[in-house]
Symmetry: C2
Subunit: 151 residues, 2 copies
DNA sequence: GTCCGTTTCATTGTACACGATTATCTTGAG
DNA sequence: CTCAAGATAATCGTGTACAATGAAACGGAC
């Protein structure tokens, strides 16, 4: 008799559901700016690091160009970023924030910050959970693809 | 001066990344069975609760029919489940496991279990993190949609 | 029994996520 | 200078997510 695997005992399912709740949270919090969560973290990375290539943005977000290219085309269409091929290395596409994005920064940060207060989670607990979830992430990414048992 | 929001200080980003790592983990672990993670948790729910309507499956997974219908069509095509409209209430579609799915249960559970051991996370820690992530989920879902500040 | 609101599922459209392939450019070897 | 190798983006195909809409069936009020 093999021990049953039940949904609510699974850490993966807890994380899966929390991530969906966060999506809903940011859908609400970002609605005034017509931004999705992946678009928001793309802007966050650009606010933090300044102009970067698509490759570099992908490294900060752990996303590849297949995901980022269409996402960034939408950000460009909506006037948040501009993309132009680097003159030094024409393989690169440099992504930079527009004036609109720079002007909106404080308003976005303040609004998102006030939404986060609704969560009502003390900073100490927030930080502890963050570091523990990060540990889970690290444990998972430490597994080499060829370590998985064969059938 | 508004306090900057940086990616790596965000709990949402930690959860977002952990969820992606889990996707990768299950992509590897479930590859022998040609199942995706959402398909796997659908089967988990059916192993746990037996035959259910689409609606009931959706309640256990917190997914709607727009997500489940195409997912289940693939599960049906691959021979894991069968779907048939209920004769008692013809609005309902009852989803049940095929003999193939019942026969494969132990093998799937054992294989996934041995993959989880690669994660190398003590049970006590696993459980604590799960309950803390669940608390985050609950704090987020407690926020009413009309509580978000206006702009 | 008819009407009307609700429930249930399916469909459509938008938006990621990611593997695989392709196109283009840069660079270095000869 | 030319060409092959490698890097970088873009493109394509599949699979979720989810909101909004539609259609069919149910159930209660009258």
């Amino acid at each position: 008799m093999v021990k049953p695997i039940t949904l609510n005992e699974q850490l993966c399912f807890a994380i899966y559901k929390a991530q969906k709740q966060y999506n809903h949270f940011y859908a609400q919090a970002l609605a005034p700016f017509k931004l999705t969560y992946p678009q928001y973290i793309t802007l966050l990375s650009l606010y933090e690091h300044g102009t970067m290539s698509v490759k570099q943005v992908g490294q900060t977000l752990e996303l590849d160009s297949g995901t980022l290219t269409p996402l960034m085309k939408r950000l460009e269409k909506d006037g948040w970023i501009s993309r132009k091929r680097s003159s030094e290395d024409e393989r690169r596409v440099d992504v930079s924030l527009t004036q609109k994005a720079l002007d909106a920064r404080d308003e976005i940060f303040e609004h998102v910050g006030s939404c986060m207060e609704l969560m009502n989670l003390p900073q100490s607990e927030y930080d502890r959970i963050k570091s523990e979830v990060t540990r889970v992430d690290e444990h998972l990414s430490a597994i080499a693809d060829d370590a998985y048992p064969q059938v």
